[in-house]
Structure formats: C-alpha cells, structure tokens
C-alpha cells in the first residue's frame, strides 16, 4: 500500500514538472503574435499621417524587435531550464526506481539464498533412520534430524518425500515387507505430529528385497534395518 503511494508520488511529480514546462512555452507564443498585430496597425496609421513619424516608427520597430528578441531569448532559456528540470526529475525517478529494483532483487536473492540454505540444511540432515530387530520405535538419536525434516516440510508445502522402509534378511519376506512399512509409518506419523501435511508423505516398503549391505552378519543387518527419506521435490 505504501509502495503504491511512493510510486504515485514519483509519477505525479514528473507530470507536474512536464506540464509546467509546456505551459510556459505556450504563453510566450501568444505574446509574440499580439505584438506583431499591434505593429501592423501602427504602420497603417503612420502611412496615413505623415512620413515624419518614420523615425519614431523605426525606433518603435527596433524596440519591438528587441523586445521580441529578448522575449524569444527568455523563452528559449525557460524552455532549456524546463527541459533540464524535467530531465533531472526523470533521472531522479529512474534512479529511485533502479534502486528500488536493485534492493528488491537483493531481497529476492536473500530469500532465495535463505531458501537454498533451508534446503541445504534439510539435505544436510540425516536421511536414514535405523531401527532395532523387529522394532519400529524411532530412537532418540534420530529425532533432531526428523524435527529438521518436519520443519522444512511444513514450511515448504510443495516439498514431497517418500519414506522407504526396509528390513534385514532375517525372518520371512512378506512379514518383512509389513515390518518395513511399519517403520515407514512410524516415521510418517512422527513427521505428521510435527505439523507436516499427510499429503507430503508417501510410504513404500521394500522389506528385505533391497539391502544396502549384502552381508550376513549383525553389522550388515543393522545397516539394512532402516527408513530412507527421499525428497521427490524440495
């Protein structure tokens, strides 16, 4: 609202200066035409009276001419001044606009930068949550990372994630599909509780079908019992 005002102020001031310049030029033109008419009348009268008045006529003529010249000069001067003034005003307005644009761009950049930072921060967060055997409880150590994701997601409604649930190779395959999903759901619920829209999250379980570590020992199994947070859209 205030911005609009400022713009109007700038615009109207430019208009005022321009109009002022135009009106001053017009007045000068009118004065010139009236003087010439007077001269013509005087000349006709003088021809009828006497030639003796020729001197005074010439003088008058010279005076009138001088006056006209002076007036024309003044007119030109005024015109130049007006133009200069107009130009100055315009330049000022342009500069103001430019500055405004620059600063706006800076803000936009700043915001974009902040957005990028937020995205970077979200990217920097842990994207894999690990679980215990046959468990889907989110351990305390992963909660800060999840809070970060939750913050980013609730702030960026266009952002979308897929939670990929996985299990280790022990136990049966279909049960592990369900277990992977239970883990994905646990993470999903946690995020929703933190204010993330349900529509921003999809859970897919791969059970034990896509291990990150194909080993058959407890260290490999621990790596495979996980939920991976994948951003489809930041």
């Amino acid at each position: 609202m205030q911005v609009g005002n400022l713009n109007k102020v700038i615009a109207s001031s430019v208009l005022v200066v321009f109009l002022a310049a135009c009106s001053s030029t017009g007045e000068t033109t009118d004065a010139t035409s009236s003087t010439q008419a007077a001269q013509a009348a005087q000349a006709a009268q003088a021809a009828a009276d006497a030639a003796a008045l020729a001197e005074s006529q010439a003088l008058e003529e010279a005076q009138a001419q001088a006056q006209a010249e002076a007036e024309a000069e003044a007119e030109a001067e005024a015109e130049a001044e007006a133009q200069a003034a107009a130009e100055a005003t315009e330049q000022a307005a342009q500069e103001a606009a430019q500055q405004a644009a620059d600063e706006a761009a800076a803000v936009a950049q700043e915001l974009a930068h902040q957005q990028q930072q937020a995205q970077d921060a979200a990217q920097a967060l842990a994207h894999v949550i690990y679980f215990d055997f046959d468990q889907s409880t989110i351990k305390a150590e992963f909660r800060t990372a999840l809070n970060g994701h939750a913050a980013y997601l609730s702030q960026n409604p266009s952002a979308k994630i897929v939670l990929e649930g996985h299990a280790d190779e022990r136990g049966t395959r279909e049960y592990n599909i369900a277990l992977g999903e239970r883990r994905g759901n646990a993470v999903s619920r946690y995020l929703v509780v933190q204010g993330v829209s349900v529509d921003a999250i999809e859970v897919v379980s791969f059970g034990e079908e896509r291990p990150v570590n194909s080993g058959h020992d407890s260290a490999s199994w621990a790596e495979n019992r996980r939920v991976e947070i994948r951003y489809i859209n930041y």
């Binding site: 205030q2 706006a104 761009a105 800076a106 921060a121 409880t137 809070n147 970060g148 980013y152 609730s154």
Partner: protein
C-alpha cells in the same frame, strides 16, 4: 517489481520475527544450533505468511503423545501375547492333569485286579520306575511268565514293524503295565520313545529315552537312547541339552554306532 518491493519493505519485519522465534525456540526446547536456525526460520516464515501452525511446545507435546501411544500399543501387544500363552498353558495343563489322572487310574485298576502273590513284589506299585533293573540278573526274581512277557513284547514290536504306531504305543504301554519288572521293560521304553518320535511327539519321545538312560543305566540300549534323546531335544530346539546328551554318547560309548551318529549331529 511490485512484489519485489513489497518483500523489500518486509525485511525488517522478518528479521524482528526471527528474533522472536529464536526466543521461543530457546525457551521451549534445548536443541542444537543447526536445528535452531532452521526452526527459527520456519517460525518466522510461518508467522509471516500467517498460516496457523502449532507452536513448538505443541509439537513437543504431540511428540510425547505419539511416544505414549506407541508404548501403549506395544505394551498391549505384549500383554495380549502373554494372555494367549497363559491361556494355552492352562489348557494344556488341564489336559495333562486329566491324562495323568486317567493313567494313574488305569494303573491302580490293573494293580488291584492283578493277583498279587509274592511279598517281594508287594512294593511293585511304588517301584515301577524306581528300581534299576538289570535285565540279566533280575530274570530269576521275576514272577510273571517270561514266555508270556516275551510274546507280549513281540506282539507290540510287530505292530511297530507294521507301522501301526498308535496301536504300538497302546501295546507298549499295556506291556509296561502288565510286566512292570519284566526283562524287556528297558527295551519297551526305548521303543516307545522311537514310536513317539515317528509320531512327532518329540517331548514324549525324549521322556521315554531319558527313562531308559536313568532307570536302566546298564542297558545295552543306553547309547542309542542317549543319541535319540539328543536328537529329540534338537528337534524341540533345546540345543544345549541336546549337546550334553550327544557329548555323553561320545565320551561314554565312543565305540558304539550311536557315537558315530552323535558326532554327525553335533555341529
């Protein structure tokens, strides 16, 4: 351009809100700097865009509720599991109790109907499973007709060969009742174990084999009984007990054929 300028003008506001957000976050939860920065920004932007969102304190409370519900669910599941198991055990105990009563009843009836003669065998009712019968020595002290005993045993054994396992179990049990001090009691227990094993009643099989081991320590079937009991325990998943039994075959009867089999079973 319009938009850009509008943002420009809001910069100070955002900054001030950021500070407020910071204060909020600090007072609500002690978290790390990284998260603080992010949380601040969110609070600020959320406020700026005027979307109604719960404050961090609410989030925290929600998270706690979430935890509580999860815990309750788990607790409930575990309790359900325990109830299921207790119910099952109770049901099984009742059945066992009934079975035991019937068994006892049958033994008493058969004892009272048997013409008891010799004072030396008056203790029979108590001794059945207590006396270590050395089959060869005890033959002479035994009252019942050894021929009849042999015949009864053979009849039961032939049922096993004919794969009539249910009938064999009944016959062997009857044999044990009829000839509690017979020379073939050890063998009968052993074969009862074998038949139970075939029938998949692993627990009963293990018990029968153990009876042979305990009550007939000198019996020639002991190495086999040890091995079979070991196998039975392996099947029930009691691997430690199974190993103890199998090791005993190896240490006590290294020359027996059971020892070779036991060696294969020990992993």
């Amino acid at each position: 351009m319009y938009q850009a300028v509008s943002r420009f003008i809001f910069v100070p506001m955002v900054l001030s809100l950021t500070l407020v957000g910071h204060a909020n976050a600090n007072s609500a939860v002690p978290v790390t700097d990284l998260d603080n920065a992010l949380a601040d920004e969110v609070v600020a932007k959320v406020n700026a865009t005027a979307i109604v969102q719960p404050a961090p304190a609410v989030h925290n409370a929600n998270a706690q509720l979430f935890d509580i519900i999860e815990l309750l669910q788990q607790e409930l599941q575990n309790l359900r599991g325990q109830v299921e198991e207790l119910t099952f055990n109770l049901k099984r105990l009742k059945e066992d109790q009934k079975q035991r009563y019937l068994d006892l009843d049958r033994r008493i009836v058969s004892l009272t109907s048997q013409p008891v003669v010799d004072p030396t065998s008056s203790e029979t009712a108590v001794i059945v499973s207590d006396v270590s019968v050395n089959t060869k020595v005890n033959v002479s002290t035994y009252e019942a007709d050894p021929e009849a005993e042999k015949a009864a045993y053979k009849a039961a054994f032939s049922l096993i060969r004919e794969r009539q396992y249910e009938a064999a179990i009944a016959a062997l049990n009857a044999f044990l009742v009829d000839y509690p001090q017979g020379t073939l009691v050890g063998n009968a227990h052993y074969w009862l174990g074998e038949v139970y094993m075939v029938e998949g009643n692993v627990a009963a099989a293990a018990a029968a084999f153990e009876l042979v081991i305990k009550d007939f320590p000198e019996h020639r079937k002991v190495p086999d009984a040890l091995y079979k009991a070991g196998v039975a325990y392996q099947k029930t998943g009691n691997l430690s007990k199974a190993n103890v039994l199998l090791q005993r075959v190896l240490s006590h009867y290294p020359e027996s054929s059971a020892a070779r089999l036991a060696q294969e079973k020990i992993q």
